[in-house]
C-alpha cells in the first residue's frame, strides 16, 4: 500500500517466512509432552525419539477446533502407545502404564523433587538416602558409599534393592 503522501518507505525489513499455525500449537505442547515421555523413559535419546514419533503420528490427524485439553490427551495417548512399543521391543515385556494418580499434576510432576518425595518418603531411611544421592543429586556409587559410610559394593546392592522396593510400593494400575 502506498503511504498517504505518495512517498516510498525508506526501508522495510524482510523476515523469514512466518510459521504456520500448527507450529505454534506444536511449540505449546512439545515441552510438556517431552517431560511426560522423559518421566517414563528416563533418558534423552528415547525422550527425543518418542516425542518426535508422537508428533509425526498425531499432527496429521488433528483437525481444526480441537481443544487444548483434547489435544494434550491425544498426544499422551499416542506417546503411551509409542513408549509401550519401544519397551516391548527392547525389554520383551508388556509395559503397564504407571498409575496415573500416582503422578499428580502431570505437567509439573516430573520437574521437581517434591513429586517423587511421596514415594521416597515411604521407603526405609537407607533406601531413601541411596536413591536421593544417586538419582536426585547425581552422586556416583563411590560418592554415595562415602556419604553413607558404607562400602561401595553395599551401596551398589542397596540401590538395586531400593528400586525394587519402590516398585512394589508403586504398583501399576
Amino acid at each position: 500500500m502506498t503511504p498517504a503522501d505518495g512517498s516510498t518507505p525508506l526501508h522495510v525489513v524482510h523476515a523469514e517466512p512466518q510459521a504456520p499455525d500448527w507450529e505454534a500449537v506444536y511449540r505449546e505442547h512439545v515441552g510438556p509432552l517431552y517431560r511426560f515421555v522423559y518421566a517414563r523413559t528416563g533418558n534423552r535419546a528415547d525422550a527425543e525419539d518418542i516425542t518426535s514419533a508422537t508428533f509425526v503420528r498425531a499432527l496429521p490427524r488433528l483437525h481444526a477446533g480441537v481443544s487444548d485439553a483434547e489435544l494434550r490427551a491425544y498426544l499422551r495417548a499416542t506417546a503411551r502407545t509409542v513408549i509401550a512399543d519401544t519397551w516391548r521391543e527392547r525389554h520383551g515385556t508388556v509395559l503397564e502404564e504407571i498409575h496415573e494418580e500416582s503422578i499428580p499434576n502431570h505437567d509439573v510432576a516430573v520437574e521437581s523433587h517434591a513429586d517423587v518425595a511421596p514415594l521416597l518418603d515411604r521407603l526405609p531411611g537407607n533406601y531413601r538416602t541411596v536413591l536421593e544421592l544417586r538419582f536426585l543429586r547425581g552422586y556416583s556409587v563411590r560418592e554415595t558409599a562415602a556419604a553413607m559410610g558404607i562400602s561401595v559394593s553395599n551401596a551398589k546392592v542397596m540401590q538395586l534393592r531400593a528400586l525394587r522396593r519402590a516398585a512394589q510400593l508403586e504398583p501399576p494400575s
Partner: protein
C-alpha cells in the same frame, strides 16, 4: 550379584548417563526400571527438551506438513480453548488477518494504517549505529532501530499476548516480559524461545532531514469512521 542385578545395574548406569538403555530382557525388574527412569527425570533440569531438538523437530514437521498438505488446527481456536483472551497485535491496531492463514506461509506483516501519515518518531542525530529506541505515538508502540546503518522500525507489541516488549541490556534482542519470548532485531522470533511467537510487524519509516518518520495512523479517526 545375580544376573538380574547386573542387568538392572546396567540399566541404571545408562539412565544416569542420560543414555538409551541397551536391549535386554526386563525380567521381573520392569517396575524397578520404571522407578529409576522416573527418579532420574526428577533430577533438576534433567527433563527439559533442548532448544536444538525443539527446533529440529519443528523443521521436520514443517516439511512433512508441506508435502502432505494436512489440515492443521487453528491456533485461534486453541487459544480460545485455553482461555487466552488477548490475541496478537491488539493494542497496535495492526491487522491480524495473517494469523488466520491456513498452511500457507505468510510473510512478516507490515503495519499499514488505512489513513497513514508520516510522523516523526526519532532524530537521526540521536540514532547512532546499534541504537534501538522506543516510541509511543498515535496509538502505536514501536521500536526505531539503527542496526546496520539503515533505519528500520518494528511494532513493540508481542505477537503472543499483546505485552509491550523491551530491549535487553545488550540492545541485541527484544524480550517479552510476560512469557520470555525473544525476538531478533529484524523482528523474527528467536529459535527456541517461548513458543507461539510470529514475527513482529514492520513499521515503515523514512528519513526527512534529521527526522525519522514512521507511517502511522491519523491522530483522530477520519470523519464517518465507525469501526
Amino acid at each position: 550379584m545375580s544376573r538380574a542385578d547386573r542387568r538392572l545395574q546396567r540399566y541404571i548406569d545408562a539412565i544416569l548417563r542420560d543414555r538409551r538403555p541397551r536391549r535386554t530382557p526386563a525380567g521381573d525388574d520392569s517396575g524397578a526400571m520404571r522407578v529409576a527412569a522416573r527418579l532420574h527425570a526428577a533430577h533438576p533440569g534433567a527433563a527439559d527438551p533442548s532448544p536444538a531438538f525443539v527446533d529440529g523437530l519443528a523443521r521436520r514437521l514443517r516439511q512433512g506438513a508441506g508435502e502432505e498438505r494436512v489440515p492443521m488446527p487453528d491456533r485461534r481456536k486453541f487459544l480460545a480453548a485455553a482461555g487466552v483472551a488477548a490475541a496478537a497485535g491488539i493494542g497496535a491496531g495492526v491487522g491480524i488477518e495473517h494469523l488466520r492463514a491456513g498452511s500457507t506461509v505468510p510473510a512478516q506483516p507490515t503495519l499499514t494504517p488505512s489513513d497513514g501519515h508520516w510522523v516523526q518518531v526519532a532524530r537521526m542525530s540521536e540514532l547512532k549505529l546499534g541504537t534501538v529506541q522506543r516510541f509511543s505515538e498515535r496509538g502505536i508502540e514501536g521500536f526505531v532501530l539503527n542496526t546496520d546503518g539503515r533505519v528500520s522500525a518494528l511494532s513493540a507489541v508481542c505477537t503472543d499476548q499483546g505485552c509491550i516488549l523491551q530491549t535487553d541490556s545488550s540492545g541485541k534482542q527484544i524480550n517479552c516480559p510476560c512469557h520470555f519470548a525473544q525476538f531478533n532485531l529484524d523482528g523474527t522470533p528467536k529459535p527456541g524461545s517461548y513458543h507461539p511467537v510470529t514475527p513482529l510487524p514492520v513499521i515503515q519509516v523514512r528519513t526527512n532531514g534529521d527526522a525519522v518518520e514512521a507511517l502511522l495512523p491519523a491522530a483522530t479517526p477520519p470523519p464517518g469512521w465507525n469501526g
